[in-house]
């Protein structure tokens, strides 16, 4: 029973650490451009969502609280990516 309760946590840890490595690799490879930036933000969103659902244990929390936290994440991520997308051609040409 202990194993069955803790295993999903291990899986979440592997996913978030793996996602961090991918984001770092994309940056280390000196790739640039809007697509890479948007993927970096998408990875941050996915990691943050896993922390909210699995580490914070809101996956099975009352819907109000789950929606509040996921809503915060969605709103902040959307604003960030919108501002990023509209921040001009300067970084797209780099």
């Amino acid at each position: 029973m202990t194993r069955s309760v803790l295993m999903p946590l291990q899986r979440t840890w592997l996913l978030v650490v793996g996602a961090t490595a991918v984001a770092l690799w994309m940056r280390e490879d000196r790739l640039a451009g809007f697509t890479i930036g948007a993927m970096t933000l998408a990875i941050a969103y996915a990691k943050a969502r896993l922390v909210i659902l699995d580490f914070m244990e809101l996956r099975h929390a009352p819907l109000l609280w789950r929606c509040l936290l996921e809503g915060w994440l969605l709103l902040v991520s959307s604003l960030i990516v919108t501002i990023y997308a509209s921040s001009g051609a300067a970084h797209h040409s780099l």
């Binding site: 029973m1 202990t2 309760v5 803790l6 946590l9 291990q10 979440t12 840890w13 978030v16 650490v17 961090t20 984001a23 770092l24 994309m26 940056r27 280390e28 640039a32 890479i36 930036g37 970096t40 933000l41 990875i43 941050a44 990691k47 943050a48 922390v51 909210i52 699995d54 580490f55 914070m56 244990e57 809101l58 099975h60 929390a61 009352p62 819907l63 609280w65 509040l68 936290l69 915060w72 709103l75 902040v76 604003l79 960030i80 501002i83 990023y84 509209s86 921040s87 001009g88 300067a90 970084h91 780099l94």
Partner: protein, 216 residues
Amino acid sequence: MPGQYPIGAARTGTLPDADALPLSAAARSSASPRRLPGDRDVWIFIYAELCAFGLFFVAYMVYRSDRVDLFNASQLGLDRSLGALNTILLLTSSWAVAAAPRAARLGRIVAVPRYLAFGIALGLAFMVVKYFEYRAKLHAGITISTDMFYMFYFCLTGIHLMHVIAGTIILIVIWLNARARLYHTGNTTGLEAGASYWHMVDLLWIFLFALLYLLR
């Protein structure tokens, strides 16, 4: 409710068992109703913190959009390896701290302080890495007034560091409680509340790392 149980029952030790059983069953059952871990008031506090940091992130992006070239150039001065190392430290710490209430709910109360101690050690390691990172910047003559990027870098990571310090103190308090065997199947509220705060610290760093160290 006074009078519900005979006083003698408490003295013979039957009362705590009778109280703990329904909670234990609810905690173990996969069909248990949806429940908010920890304390609702702590969640309101956490939500207020998240909203404040959300505004900081948006402000950073707005200022960045005005000076993309400056922000990209200054970002090259950051040590991405240390930023990534701190990300792994906090994610792993968060994992250990998430395991603690699960262990308590399963009645593995000896494992609870061990998980918390591991989480605390990684939180302290985060502070040490941050110290060396700040020291390297100051030695290189980079300060909060160098430019707009570094103003955000020092302010955002500095405010976050204060939360890491506060979170570590909270973890130490619940670690001491866990060592005193205060958390068990029927009582995990304080443990879960402290753990929720620590996960918030981790959550915020995920964005700080992406925005300050990675985004071009």
